[in-house]
Symmetry: C2
Subunit: 194 residues, 2 copies
């Protein structure tokens, strides 16, 4: 998605060999107009696939997911994070390891909001190692829901997230911006998906 | 706002004397269409007041804030929560006590995203004791920003949040739904603001 790639070039900051900060428009300060454009693009990519619900993880996934939900006219459920995995009859839960923070969090979704009748689209802000996406997949699997695919805002293609997700059986992964490499503090993109 | 009051009547659940669960459309599962209507209503309430930025707190404030930002065409910044208040040269911080959880959290906003030139609108999902709103006000004050007002999705008018906010100097507080009382598990509203 060209508008997103341009924004990353203009306002993203490469602060370590493999860290991209996009907190000026995506995950701390948010540009609502860009979010809406992204939501429409997700809706285009996953049109006519029978999506009944969007799943994401708090907090950074919420804005793009809600805009996608608006464009697809389906509800959004954001998984809540907690320090420990409290098994509960009321919730689907999964563990998510963060390589950045080197800690594990649990994520949970109330069972009232996900069922075997659902066709879910998973949305997240970043795909790096794929742990959050795999956690959402695990929760959808627990519910017996059908996973239509995954929509990612920014994919770091030089990290194993996409392959990990494919290995876990996830199909139909679309990223709005795919970063091939950081070179001298600059961002180089993989050729955009059609 | 009638559509919100109706939704609270239909889908809200009073689970304790003073707790209202609205996790089926606001703070776990999200109805994006309702969020957009709320965003437009916030934009109407705070039109022509020179708002340059919206501040909210993760995670439940993000969806209404982003929709308000879209309608007002201004950026949104969501404060991040953390367990402890780490004083930093890079961030404005405040402590927020949660009466529900009986714990204190710190909230932080990066200094790059708030300045004395800003005219900010504070948005949050609930106003009960007003602690989150006061934390956002404290952060705006640290930045020297002008506070235009506060937009709340659901106010529990039988709790002291509004008075606490007024006592702290906050003006122009608008709530889309003002709950007067819970009676026999039913929600009674204060007459809606014009």
């Amino acid at each position: 998605m060209k508008a997103l790639e341009q924004r990353i070039q203009e306002d993203g900051r490469v602060i370590e060999p493999d860290i991209l900060k996009v907190d000026s428009f995506l995950n701390h300060q948010i540009d609502p107009v860009l979010m809406q454009e992204m939501g429409k693009e997700f809706a285009r990519l996953f049109a006519n696939q029978g999506v009944t619900k969007i799943l994401t993880v708090e907090a950074s996934g919420i804005a793009p997911a809600v805009m996608a939900g608006l464009a697809l006219d389906v509800p959004v459920v954001f998984a809540r994070k907690s320090k420990s995995r409290i098994l509960s009859d009321d919730a689907f839960t999964a563990d998510v390891y963060s390589f950045t923070k080197q800690t594990s969090n649990a994520i949970r979704i109330d069972k009232r909001f996900l069922s075997a009748d659902d066709h879910v689209l998973l949305i997240d802000d970043f795909l790096a190692n794929g742990q959050a996406l795999l956690g959402l997949k695990e929760i959808a699997d627990q519910a017996g829901a059908t996973i239509v695919g995954a929509g990612i805002v920014i994919e770091k293609s030089f990290q194993p997230g996409r392959q990990n997700a494919i290995d876990a059986g996830l199909e139909n992964i679309h990223s709005l911006a795919r970063i091939a490499v950081f070179e001298d503090g600059q961002v180089k993109f993989v050729n955009e998906e059609a």
